[in-house]
């Protein structure tokens, strides 16, 4: 089990020691062109969580590769990418194929931009065609059947799933009754998202053999254990990092105690414990990450 940050919830350039306390640093989503993001106000605390509408603020893929990536040396880096067409995702994946990144996370589910990417299967297939990097599809739980989306991602060649992104929520100002966020709605994260994430991970574990990074409202070691039991192989921290930058160390220690209390030899042994029947055998593709990484130089993008 690896501990990651959820994309957009940590900047290794302003908090390197927090990034170092995780096994993997996942970047904020990078898009083809630079984006300023949404106007403020961008965040609001709500009952059971918080809303954000940052709007994929990022320097664009060229400045990211030319500047940001070099400053992340020493970290295991997954790059989250987001686009507005199938071709955008293919271009981003091809651009990253020769870079020193451990995996690419396809952000297929940002609730805070107007442009909606096309079908998950098409995007994953287009990225798959141009890179040997492990591809994780980050899915929204706000669909009638997330397992169906997961199967589409698997069929198109994804190496793993990131579950879940935020879901859309709205906050109104106490006095004016107008939306608090300048954009109107925002992505809901924090405690309220945790049962949603558990359900999505549980459903996708039954539907596919892909490794799963579980995330959504994780704040304690117990929460990690529950996501593992639902079927996650790795777990990412999001909103908790905002209030507690020391959360990774604390949560690891709490998880050790939880595993011992439940009689699990290690975290991997807890994966799928919530399921009674036989689960699909875990897809092995992501297990050869290191070997594939060595071969990336042989692959010509496109």
């Amino acid at each position: 089990m690896r501990l990651l940050n959820a994309s957009g919830c940590l900047d290794a350039l302003t908090a390197l020691e927090v990034a170092r306390s995780l096994d993997v640093f996942v970047t904020k989503t990078v898009t083809p062109m630079p984006r300023a993001g949404n106007d403020p106000v961008r965040i609001a605390e709500v009952d059971g969580g918080m809303l954000n509408a940052i709007g994929l603020a990022n320097p664009g893929i060229e400045r990211f590769c030319g500047d940001t990536l070099a400053r992340l040396a020493g970290l295991e880096v997954w790059v989250s990418v987001g686009g507005f067409s199938v071709q955008d995702y293919a271009d981003l994946a091809a651009r990253l194929d020769g870079e020193d990144v451990a995996a690419i996370e396809l952000n297929l589910s940002c609730p805070n931009v107007d442009e909606v990417p096309e079908s998950v299967g098409e995007v994953v297939a287009a990225a798959r065609a141009v890179t040997e990097k492990p591809l994780y599809a980050k899915l929204s739980p706000a669909v009638p059947d997330v397992a169906e989306t997961a199967r589409a991602a698997e069929a198109a060649g994804a190496d793993g799933l990131s579950l879940v992104n935020t879901i859309r929520g709205l906050a109104l100002d106490e006095r004016t009754l107008r939306p608090v966020l300048a954009r109107g709605p925002g992505g809901l994260s924090g405690p309220a998202l945790r049962p949603v994430a558990l359900a999505a991970v549980h459903a996708c574990r039954r539907a596919t053999a892909l490794p799963i990074v579980g995330m959504g409202g994780v704040a304690t070691g117990r929460h990690v254990l529950e996501l593992l039991a639902a079927g996650a192989n790795d777990v990412a921290l999001g909103t908790i990092l905002f209030s507690d930058p020391a959360a990774p160390g604390r949560i690891r220690a709490e998880l050790e105690a939880e595993l011992a209390a439940h009689g699990f030899a290690d975290a991997d042994n807890a994966v799928g414990a919530a399921h009674e029947a036989d689960l699909p055998t875990l897809h092995q593709r992501s297990r050869v990450r290191v070997e594939k990484h060595l071969h990336t130089g042989l692959n010509v993008a496109g």
């Binding site: 940590l10 302003t14 908090a15 403020p40 961008r42 965040i43 605390e45 969580g49 909103t239 930058p245």
Partner: protein
Amino acid sequence: MLTRAAHSVTGTEAVGPYTLLRIQRGDLDPGLPGQFFMLEAPGRLLPRPMSLCLATESELAFLIDPIGPGTRALCSLELGDRLAILGPLGNGFRLDVERPLLVGGGIGIAPLPYLSERLDNPPAVLGFRTSWHAEAAALVPNAEVVLEPIYVTEVMPAGHDVLACGPAPMLEAIRALTPHAQLAWEAPMACGYGACWGCVVRIDGELKRLCVEGPVLDAAA
């Protein structure tokens, strides 16, 4: 280092409509005036950013306006309660000024008592909505106080290095009058250390994180 630790409340007192929350200092570094701390708000998901109001050898104090659920929770803390504190964060005021003038508006006077102490009690001009709010002026030595409808910009003496904190319209008005002023802004923040990208403001024409670039900015920025 982003070190967050629990500290005990040593007392609270009402200052007009505001609450002065006193915390056991322990090994907390008070930082520079204008820097801020993320204070755990009991029962709330996110901490709240507060600039330091006063520092003694044994205590740090924060002046808080109970305007929402987080600040109300902070104002409800009692002697002996413990809360997690992260800081100091961000960039404070530059203290290498020759003729300082402190300017504050409303709850924006919060960082000025500590700033005044560090600059040997320079003159100050403070503006408030009502005489009740103006009770907080007692925290700032050498202060001239004005009440609405008079604004601080009407009584600011010329020829000073202005260090100001207050509502955005006040800071914009000061910026127009004194392009070399140092202005302390505020914005909603989830993290205070550059992670959430929630606190952006327009700086030099670009949306930048106030927690990383500020909260004290040159007026020309």
